[in-house]
């Protein structure tokens, strides 16, 4: 499998809690100690975010030290406190004084998963961020996908959602660059085409990547089979959100990172329908380690489309890696179990 951690220097850590009313978690995408140049684009109508304003290309700070993706809706932003504390304790951050006096730059975005484990108040706190950071610091190789980390409580179009990742090496013009994406799929919309009953993402893989993606025959879950344009069912307006990180070893400016994040949302649009709704807080970050070459214009074009494709593929892997979950609050079948009948 390919993974956002194929980008040298990028590590992923998950922390989560299940059972006893819990079904939520936090994922940390960790930059190298010197940080990664970063950008963001928020395109959903219901975002929950932290430290995104400093990613404006006009702002001073260029590098982030980690990005936090977390469950818990806006309450989950507290997870970033634990990541900041853990990084600061290790001397990692933006220097603001004598050696050791640093402010870690840790943007964050949340998904809405409140109550899915049964307890509305069971949501990530700073300890989740600290644990996910520890996991990232200890990580090597591909990260876990599915109902892990920030994807633990994720649901998408009536199916179990979760974490997915994908990466690719492309020609950046001035040399090869690696591009990867990690997404937490928790969409109001569906990742499954109601006509073909297969994943929208399945058509966007590298050769062979989605050969084992199932095609269903059963009726789709209600939330996945709503005609586009239908109001959501039930008395409570559902809340959703797909969030993620695109990483690359290419040398990019902050403005270019913002552009990459924006194009990444095109990858979401291909994988999820509808997406970017008023009830989704869809947010994508970009982290560029800058260890590799700076792409020329042609190379940047290639990188941008690779980023979009990695996002689409990552959505596919999130859905394929998901596992059926039943809690006191409900049951969410995974795509594979549904397709297997």
């Amino acid at each position: 499998m390919s993974c956002i951690s194929d980008v040298a220097g990028i590590r992923v850590g998950h922390a989560h809690r299940r059972g006893d009313g819990w079904l939520t978690g936090t994922t940390v995408v960790l930059a190298p100690p010197e940080g990664a140049v970063a950008g963001v684009e928020v395109r959903g109508g219901g975002p929950g975010t932290r430290e995104t304003d400093l990613l404006d290309p006009r702002a001073l700070v260029e590098r982030v030290h980690a990005v936090v993706l977390t469950g818990g809706s806006a309450f989950g932003l507290a997870a970033a406190d634990g990541v900041m504390a853990g990084l600061a304790a290790r001397g990692i951050g933006y220097p603001v004084g004598p050696p050791g006096q640093v402010v870690p730059i840790v943007p964050a975005a949340v998904i809405f998963d409140l109550g899915r484990g049964g307890d509305f108040e069971a949501r990530p706190d700073p300890s989740f961020g600290a644990s996910a950071l520890d996991a990232a610091l200890a990580a090597s190789g591909p990260c876990a996908q599915g109902a892990v980390g920030a994807g633990t409580g994720a649901v998408a179009g009536g199916f179990k959602g979760g974490v997915g990742t994908a990466a690719i090496v492309v020609d950046g013009g001035a040399g090869p660059v690696t591009v990867g994406a990690l997404v937490v799929v928790n969409a109001l919309g569906s990742c499954v085409d109601p006509a073909s009953k297969s994943l929208y993402a399945a058509g966007f893989g590298v050769p062979g990547e989605f050969d084992d993606a199932p095609v269903g025959t059963a009726d789709l879950p209600v939330a996945a089979s709503l005609p586009i344009g239908s109001p959501p069912p039930g008395p409570v307006v559902p809340q959703a959100t797909t969030i993620g990180v695109i990483a690359t070893d290419a040398t990019l400016t902050k403005a270019q990172c913002a552009k990459v994040a924006g194009i990444g949302h095109d990858g979401l649009a291909r994988a999820v329908r509808p997406v970017h709704t008023l009830l989704d807080g869809d947010t994508l970050f970009t982290m560029a380690t800058c260890a590799g070459p700076a792409p020329d214009l042609g190379g940047l074009q290639v990188l941008l489309e690779a980023a979009a494709d990695c996002v689409t593929r990552a959505v596919g892997h999130a859905m394929l890696s998901a596992t059926t979950v039943t809690t006191g609050a409900g049951s969410w079948p995974c795509l594979r179990d549904w397709a297997a009948g």
Copy 2:
């Protein structure tokens, strides 16, 4: 005195800690329980913020339940956790399920005051937010100004900074509306005109408001007397930030609130020079309770300029309310003590 709390339904609470290495705090500007329609504009180059993306006029959520202003640089964003918890415990927030299941909407912005009390690690945590919220819930009448709440560790152009507030009633076209501002002045630039040795803000008061504003004769502190364009002194790049809230009882849209915040920055520009630098994270929020009339175009023009003037006046009151502070990390004279020789 006039105060942002002249806007019916808006309450202010401060929490702070001084001594034993501490010199920082948190201020909560509390909306009525149903929230206030809100907007934001970030114009500084080094912002530290939380929950600003949802204030985009295209985003779904219209109302915020409180705005948190805090010391502690990005670490201080943790104070908002305590405010969210306190509001949620009272059932105040955006409803996301059965009664009582709410997500409080609590945007936040920070100032850089790390280490000013002597201990780099002495910064606001969730308990500061909880205490400031409790103070706001118990508040009536004008709030304290000067070295209180988020202004406890504030410094501006070599002088002690702090919290200031001002308000006015204007003709909104469809009826009178109240406009108020509260700012935390912690600017890289100076609030004192080096030519006249008086506050820039002193020229923008209502009749009599700044009659007692001192005019100095002594040399200005180094940081206040730098020729515009000079690099800051010292080996460590200074960090600053002026943040604040504009409130009104007028009925405004989110987009109008964002416009008010933007014009508010013009008020900062008149009161602080230089301002909005790459080392300031200058951020202003607007909260509209919507209990009053919706201004017509002429009334909105009046409201906008009143908002800018309230910001300027509030900066003046912050500097006039400041008191000289000396800690293990330094000494910052207040404007009044300096002018008194």
